[in-house]
Amino acid sequence: MSAILQVTELRKSYAGVHALDGVSFAVEAGSVTGLIGPNGSGKSTAIDCISGFQKRDSGEVVLAGNDITGLPAHQIARAGLMRTFQTVRIYERLSLRDNLAIAAQQFDPATWIDEFLRTRRYRQAVDKAEVRARELVELIGLKRYWEIETGILSYGQKKLVALAAALMPHPKIVVLDEPVAGVNPTRIREIEVALAALNRAGETFLIVEHNVEFITNLCHRVIVLDQGKKLAEGTAAEIHTDPRVLEAYLGMTPEMAEAEMRGAA
């Protein structure tokens, strides 16, 4: 396996406060990588800087061999990095179908001239996107909402729509910002299963999340941030027993954590 996303020495400060203080990590192709840390540890800043939604001060981001450092967000997306947002972002007044169609639109070769003339290239692009959209809708279990405005869906369902939209153009990596925050437990389980299935099908994920159980079940590797620095990195099991992580992130001793895990199981 090789690194699809390589982040090197990423730095960002707001008015003298170091939100990111030289963070480096890599995401392997085909893996699920978790990015965790207490509130204010720099997780969200990190993915905003990686995806171009914030300007980094210094550092380098390489996606599949291409330097994407400092590019505007839409170019980073075109390079193959799709992301979701912590507060769910979908087009609430468009149908599920249109939500997914727009997500793929920039990635097909059809121009407005093709559309105006209804060329073969346009029809093929639309058909291809439709097939992909139906597949994803099937997977997230929202088939019956196909033609319906997404605004009427529940919060958890909206998160699934955002996930499906991010997957539409077959991205190289999908960055999920708190995919299950505020979602009810049954639905969390569903999202977990869907993500695992997608990963088996070859999708690569970088997930920022607070829900430890979710991260533990899903991630091959976990990176822990604290105060803008990388505190630890390893498998979920390694992270769970790392005393520094327990201290900083969970605020408890290894014994307490042990008890917690037994309780959860």
Binding site: S51, F53, P72, A73, H74, Q75, A77, R78, M82, R83, F85, R89, I90, Y91, E92, R93, L94, D98, A101, I102, A103, Q105, Q106, F107, W112, E115, F116, R144, Y145, I148, E149, G151, I152, A165, A166, P169
Partner: protein, 313 residues
């Protein structure tokens, strides 16, 4: 279905001069057609893209003056005048849109309003070019292929053909992927960027197209009036376009077109009571906004969504 209705409506409108010989009614018809086009252009930038532009009034005025000056001062004909009106406005829109669209939506509103006021000042004070408050009277009616559109009824065909062409163009645009992308930008701009789409070229094009169409509409309307003076930049026009868009339902193409025709005719139909007609007009507007805050199209849409919810239960 919608297109079939639109086609029948367009043909019915074409028949208006055959049904009446009253220049007054035909004049109202011309206003209705032209105002609907200007409102549809405002709908493109405001209803679809979510950018409230008061610059439309400025574009309308520039369009009127450019068309008049092309004919009177520069010796061109009416058709070239309308084309120039569209081109000049597109360029002006690109020039003011490029910096202002980088600001937030509120700043955009203020800056477009300032632009409209600036155009009014130029129309009044650049006397050498615009003849100031005197205006440019006696604008000659156009001719094409040896046919002179001399009377109001004849000029009606010009306005009709222009409106059908412009509305057809705007409909094609709004119902395309470009139109859908504009709606997406209005609803969630960060998401659009995250999906690889740069919003700026879309917003700028929508603004320029909206300006060009509004300007051309202003040109056609000026030659209906036969005179242009700074009153052509009266806020009444902006207000009319905006009311049409809001009552019709911002973001709904057909809602705005229907409202354009209906609301242009409404004040005239209320003439049975000369004293109270504008008051009644105002009351109708206020009641409409209370009952249907998202316009007629929005109201219909909400009912449709309510039905969908019901079915899903």
């Amino acid at each position: 279905m919608k297109l079939a209705i639109a086609l029948i409506a367009a043909l019915a409108f074409a028949a208006l001069p055959l049904l009446t010989s009253s220049n007054y009614i035909i004049g109202v018809g011309i206003s209705a057609l032209i105002f609907t086009v200007a409102a549809a252009a405002l709908n493109l930038i405001y209803g679809f893209t979510g950018l409230l532009s008061f610059a439309q009034l400025g574009f309308w005025g520039i369009g009127g003056y450019v068309t008049a000056l092309t004919v009177v001062t520069f010796g061109g004909n009416f058709w070239w005048g309308v084309l120039w009106a569209a081109l000049v406005n597109a360029v002006v829109a690109l020039a003011i849109g490029y910096p202002t669209l980088r600001t937030n939506r509120h700043a955009f509103v203020i800056m477009t309003l300032t632009f409209a006021l600036l155009v009014t000042l130029i129309a009044r004070d650049w006397v050498d070019l615009t003849r100031g408050p005197l205006g440019i009277p006696n604008l000659p009616k156009p001719s094409a292929f040896g046919y002179h559109f001399a009377t109001t009824a004849q000029y009606y065909w010009v306005a009709w053909a222009f409106s059908v062409a412009m509305l057809g163009f705007l409909y094609a645009l709004c119902s395309s992927r470009i139109g859908r992308t504009l709606v997406a930008i209005k609803q969630n701009e960060p998401l659009v960027r995250a999906q690889g789409i740069a919003p700026m070229p879309y917003k700028l094009s929508a603004f320029a197209i909206s300006a060009a169409v509004t300007g051309a509409a202003g040109g056609v309307f000026t030659f209906h009036l036969g005179i242009i003076d700074p009153l052509f930049l009266d806020f009444y026009y902006m207000q009319t376009f905006l009311i049409i868009v809001i009552i019709g339902g911002a973001g709904s193409f057909w809602g705005v077109v229907a409202a354009g025709i209906a609301l242009s005719a409404l004040p005239e139909m209320l003439r049975f009571s000369a004293d109270f007609r504008m008051i009644i007009y105002g009351v109708i507007l206020v009641v409409a906004m209370f009952v249907m805050p998202t316009g007629v199209a929005g109201w219909l849409r909400e009912r449709q969504i309510a039905r969908m919810r019901e079915q899903l239960r």
